[in-house]
């Protein structure tokens, strides 16, 4: 059976995922993706009636078991400096984001 994820599709996925792979990594990962898709293909043979709903969670979210939503109120975080201390680049207590690339639309 032909490979479902061709080198072209794979390269497109890598770009979308904001990754950059060397040739060895790319070869390994593309092979594993195609192997996993072989296993996933088993799902295609399962007869699914039209009325089978999707399950986003196993345990249903009944109102009696779910917490009420919190009030939409903001609270000052007590240790903001601890959060800022984790940022790779800071300037005047502000997180520095590198230049965002711009593309001119035609």
């Amino acid at each position: 059976m032909s490979e479902q994820i061709t080198p072209e599709i794979f390269d497109h996925l890598v770009d979308l995922a904001a990754l950059e792979l060397d040739a060895g990594q790319a070869e390994y990962l593309r092979k594993q993706l195609n192997n996993q898709l072989k296993a996933i293909r088993e799902l295609e043979a399962i007869p699914l009636g039209e009325n089978i709903p999707i399950s986003l969670h196993g345990v249903p979210y009944a109102a009696a078991e779910s917490a009420a939503l919190r009030e939409d109120e903001w609270h000052l975080y007590p240790d903001a400096k601890d959060i800022l201390a984790q940022a790779p680049q800071l300037e005047n207590d502000t997180i520095v984001v590198p230049d965002i690339p711009h593309t001119t639309l035609k």
Partner: protein, 527 residues
């Protein structure tokens, strides 16, 4: 017998009787860790022959913080205050939980320098109960694996029963730290079996609670609809005591259930008389990919594992349980294919936050703009397993493939859930209190034997993952040893929020088998 050989409940009892102190318990614990653990996992470390003889549970030993906590427990006791139900009990935390002012790495290079500004609810509750955190333990990178080998922090954890074998994963450090007698309790997470499978491999008790029973606040997310924090322990009683502490509603996690937490310990010794316990042929057949073609093939379960489960059924029947044979669970075999889709979609979504801007690694290579910085950072920071999950998650959720893969997987998840609903329905044909199954299709495999083959590795979770899809609770407990003296795990699965029944059955089994010969054999690192 040393203090570190005692169970959590024995330790806290001795402490309350003032026969020991929390600092004495901690000292004994740290000495034992020094004897069996070897060096902690680190980035860019080369594994030596000497490393191969040790367990390597830890990424970070928090001994100074532990000493402060233990001293506080002793001070509370001296002042006549109640220090909490787990006072003085040492425990480890899988390094996927945020703990304030400690490195919280997820075993990934991309978070190697991350110090959490807050503490996860489950950890906070353990500490509030008087338990003493001695360190953060190793795991598969971002929990992506079943052997702990994919950690960026090497040497990765080894099995205390035979250090040539894996401890399982992803909570390998948790299970090994308990199995090696380093601590009586550990906090793990289970997304496809990541508590139960390593518990089975390391000869300890592991609990995946009902989804929502334990808050996920402060847990670095893998697959948000599947992740469950839970206990790893030496005994069922200790696991029940730990779940008692960590379970319950949490205003920080809207998916944490508000259902009342029962008193797990009060009915623990209630026995199994009259309980209906099921055996399903669908858990005695296993599926593995052919090593040459990759095609999936059905096999019988290894005889020793099947014999352990059937022996457990006989033991429970002798105590008055009714064993119900031939319980159909027809969608069990689809658990892994469904997981390949759902978990990857959720993982890809969760991994997009690691971008080198707010926290974690940022590349030191030169870059021209934000997008190039993203690429360089994520390439350096992520190992192969996160990259694989991002790529698969993006592929199967893409608009043109979503119906074929993601939507279909979510519907098959409904069928898996219905299997459990049918057999646990109190008005149905089966009316089970629990399903008794093997935990794993094999015992612990050798290091490097499976790692790299991501399909084969995933099928190590085939008997545990259906419970994650369904959200139901599962308990793995030791059920014997194979011919190599490696532990065999047996699994109890129950209906939503019925952990108490599983503890009761597990405790009855423990008591009935406490004099069996295999229980006298210790892990090799303790001989």
């Amino acid at each position: 017998m040393e203090l570190c050989d005692l169970t959590a409940l024995e330790l806290t009892r001795l402490l309350r009787q003032k026969k020991t102190s929390a600092v004495e318990i901690l000292t004994s614990t740290l000495q034992h860790i020094g004897q069996v653990d070897g060096r902690s996992g680190a980035l860019d470390a080369t594994v030596t022959d000497e490393d191969k003889e040790k367990v390597h549970s830890f990424i970070t030993l928090t001994d100074e913080m532990a000493l402060k906590q233990a001293s506080a427990v002793d001070a509370d006791l001296a002042a006549g205050k109640d220090p909490g139900p787990l006072a003085g009990v040492p425990f480890t935390v899988k390094d996927i939980f945020c703990v304030k002012d400690t490195p919280s790495t997820a075993a990934s290079r991309i978070l190697a320098n991350f110090k959490s500004p807050y503490t996860a609810t489950a950890v906070e509750r353990m500490q509030a109960a008087g338990a003493v955190m001695v360190g953060k333990v190793n795991l598969d990178e971002f929990t992506y694996g079943s052997s702990t080998e994919s950690s960026a922090f090497q040497p990765s954890t080894r099995n205390p029963w035979d250090t040539a074998h894996v401890p399982g994963g992803s909570s390998g450090g948790s299970a090994a730290s308990v199995g090696a007698g380093e601590v009586p309790l550990s906090l793990g997470t289970d997304t496809a079996g990541s508590i139960r499978q390593p518990a089975a491999f390391c000869g300890v008790v592991g609990v995946k609670p009902t989804y929502g029973r334990v808050s996920r606040y402060g847990l670095i997310a893998f697959a948000s609809s599947l992740d469950c924090p839970g206990p790893v322990a030496r005994t069922v009683s200790d696991a029940a005591a730990m779940l008692q502490v960590i379970a319950g509603a949490d205003p920080h996690d809207s998916t944490a259930a508000t259902t009342a937490v029962p008193d797990y310990l009060s009915k623990l010794e209630g026995g199994v008389k009259g309980m209906r316990i099921g055996l399903s042929p669908d858990y005695f057949r296993i599926t593995f990919p052919d090593p040459k073609t990759g095609e999936l093939q059905e096999q019988a379960l290894p005889k020793e594992i099947e014999a352990s489960v059937r022996h457990a059924a006989d033991v429970l029947a002798a105590m008055g349980a009714e064993i119900v044979e031939e319980v159909p669970m027809p969608n069990t075999r689809y658990g892994i294919p469904v997981y390949f889709v759902i978990s990857r979609v959720e993982a890809a979504s969760n991994l997009h936050r690691y971008d080198g801007v707010k926290y974690g690694l940022r590349t030191k290579q030169p870059y021209t703009d934000l997008r190039q910085m993203y690429k360089l950072t994520r390439n350096e920071g992520f190992g192969l397993q996160p990259k694989l999950r991002i790529l698969m998650g993006m592929y199967v959720s893409a608009a043109q493939y979503s119906e074929q893969y993601y939507q279909r997987a979510l519907k098959v998840r409904t069928l898996i859930r219905r299997d459990f609903e049918t057999v646990f329905d109190p008005a149905g044909s089966y009316r089970l209190d629990a399903l008794l199954t093997p935990t794993t299709p094999t015992t612990a495999f050798e290091m490097d034997a499976v790692y790299g083959d991501t399909v084969l590795m995933q099928y190590a979770d085939q008997l545990t993952v259906p419970a994650n899809h369904a959200g139901v609770p599962g308990l793995s407990l030791p059920g014997g040893l194979d011919e190599k003296e490696l532990p065999i795990g047996i699994q109890l699965l129950g209906a939503d929020y019925c952990e108490q029944k599983l503890f009761q059955i597990g405790r009855a089994y423990e008591q009935a088998t406490e004099n069996e010969a295999w229980r006298r054999i210790k892990p090799r690192v303790l001989r």
